[in-house]
Amino acid sequence: MSHTTRMTRRELLAAAAGLGAAAWLPRIALAQAGTLVAATFPGTWNEAQRTILKPAFQKATGASVTQSIILGTDQVSRLVAAKGNAPPFDVAIFDSPQVLDAVKQGLISEFPVAKSVNYKDLLPPFQDKWGPKISMQVIGIAYNPKRVKTPPTKWSDLWDPKYKGRVGLTALNSQLGIAFLAELNRLRGGTVENFDPAFKALRELLPSVNAIGANLGAYATLWQQEQIDIAPYNFNFVQTLKGKGVPVEFVVPESGAAGWDTSLHIVANTTNAELALKYIDLAIDATVQAAMMEPPYDVIPTNRKVALAGAITQTLAKTPADLGKIRGFDWAKLNPQRGELIERFNREIRT
């Protein structure tokens, strides 16, 4: 019997579709004993934790750690999806709003404070039974000093006609996007219940907007390529980009600094709770935090034994008491609206 293998178009398509699907499968980092899987944020966080926390952890425990870059909202959805099975990572990194969601949905376990060596050294506002705050993130205005000669001083400078076509924004899937919108709303007289003032201001800003980054990676690229000259940004991301030679500076606007806490958590049902505890404990260790405060990371320390220094004291806070003055957001009321805000934002910005 002669048999020729002739691929029909449909078979070819199916094969191609299979190949495509394989390429899209997420890199599955299954938690195994002896290997900790810790989530980390893109940008500064991933770089500082990879170069400082990871070696410290490996030295202290002899175990290895895989650091996986995932946004806070992504982590929440992945943990929800994995409920009832082994979680995809052992340590979660969240900004203030995700902690609320994660606690509500039972995604993280309480931090064993008694077993932690460094927890007692945390400044009081950074202690939390669900997991220690490892740093703060502060938003302000970033600008390209090569192209913006007079540094901006207030948020409303973004609306200045001279920046037409040079302003950048980021989509609302990042914490930066939501926080900027909330701060804008507050300044324009809105309330957590009423975001109309923010969206009115956004509509007025759109003609000046050159680009809206779909994610933080793309947003950093906009600065590197000098595609945008002025935009809301995060203190640490600016420091990291500056360290890479990108022309970018950060100012706290006249209306004051606004920010939120970043914390580490032991994921519920992890089989690696001991290693996770050790990892988190090292993240609040004075030596590790002092190293992370060095440029180009300039990560704000939360351990009382680390004296504030460097760019933080020049730009944000001279004393720990100043850190307490950084305005926070009402995440309990903002969180439930996130979906609605994202959709409304998308409708407004879509070209």
């Binding site: 699907a21 992504d74 929800v80 989509a171 050159n210 690229t221 000098e226 994202i342 998308n346 879509r350």
Partner: protein, 276 residues
Amino acid sequence: MKFNASTMVLPLAALFVACFIAPLSVLMALSFASEQGAGDFTLKHYLVFFGDRFHLSILVDTLMLGVKATLVCLAFGFPIAWLCARAHARWQSVLIFLVILPILTSVVVRTFSWIVILGRQGVLNQIVLALGLSDEPLRLLFTQTGVIIVLAQVQMPLMVLPILTVLSKIDPNLGDASRALGAGEWRTLWRVTLPLSMPGILAGGILTYAACITAFVTQTLIGGARLIYMPLHIYQQAVGANNWPFAAAISVIFMVAVLVVVGLLNAYGRRFERYA
């Protein structure tokens, strides 16, 4: 021991059921649930999608983006395939290697390098400004034109390879016969080569189309957040807004829409089966 085709296909079929049919069924079921975890049946997510021009226009834009990018891909891909097919054997392997080369680098890397090329300070704009073709940098990044240019380049191999396969199978005597009967090069290309290569063009077209409309990385990095296409829309609904059932519903709608387009192309392709 006797093997027949059906037993050999079993492992693949099992894999297909486990990794494709099963998740797809879960997705379908989820799209009809009022919220995640609820075991009820509702059409509300579908009604929301079709009742809102915002969602509908995203679907239409995505399907049209695929058409435009596929046509650009064809316009450049067919001549490349034609050159490859007619090149001397040694050159042919070099050309084919060049065609395949893009697949050997990650799509993320390729897309980021396009940002460097298309940006305001990018290579392309520096050339345009240096030549005095424009006073201001051209806006290419974050425009649909930019997305189409990049998609066409990134997906080019998917178009060229099927066309090349079909072209190299065409009996060269047919071209000679056409010329002997008095047809010029263009007439031969138009009346003989092109119809004969139609199965390849359609296969390439379907592959390119499917790849272009689902190219999440390229669409979001080059298009930015203001050009919303279905993959980004689905991602934002699922992960950003945590609205899984709605994300599932629009995934199903997107899939059906793509199947319809591919089905139409396939039906059109049957007309050319007599040539094959």
